[in-house]
Symmetry: C2
Subunit: 108 residues, 2 copies
């Protein structure tokens, strides 16, 4: 009994079943992903400035995240150097803005 609340049989994964949200959640659920988007929210930063802003995070993982975010179309490398958000990336960042206010109330 207690039909294990799983009679739904989700079968959601990556970007398979049309659930793009899963892929997005997976990408954003990697260390520094959210932080990078957050730090770039206002103005572009050079890789080093970004590292400083991200509390001296390792350049290895920062570079990996930047590449992923770039492939996802959220971040771009300006021709004159410096990473910035794309139009899409700015949209995504807008989505997270309410988080700021929420965090202030949370703060525990």
């Amino acid at each position: 009994m207690a039909k294990q609340a799983g009679s739904r049989d989700h079968r959601v994964r990556g970007s398979r079943t049309g659930r793009a949200i899963m892929a997005l959640l997976d990408l954003l659920g990697r260390r520094w992903s959210l932080r990078i988007l957050w730090e770039l929210r206002e103005s572009p930063l050079t890789s080093r400035a970004l590292r400083t802003a991200c509390d001296e995070a390792s350049p290895t993982v920062l570079q990996a995240r930047l590449t992923e975010l770039r492939e996802a179309g959220f971040v771009e490398l300006g021709d004159g150097g410096g990473y910035g958000l794309t139009a899409l990336g700015r949209e995504l960042c807008e989505t997270f803005m309410p988080l700021h206010r929420f965090a202030e109330r949370w703060k525990e």
Copy 2:
């Protein structure tokens, strides 16, 4: 030139400088954190049902995330068993709802 765009000297970190958003971004930027909140968005799930919904993720990390999310006050364990969102957790989840629509448009 290129005065390294870092004349700001952020010095943000964890939950120190009043930036609660950093602590939140760090918590949510752990594997399965966002996914767990997402899967619980509608109704509570037992630990096993949650594991199924989360693509059979390891119970080790799932349990760790659930503990963290519980300590953060976003998730609670019902007296009759099963994990569900708290009022605060529901609020946080609401913040992420626009992400759903965004993901659909992104979809690459």
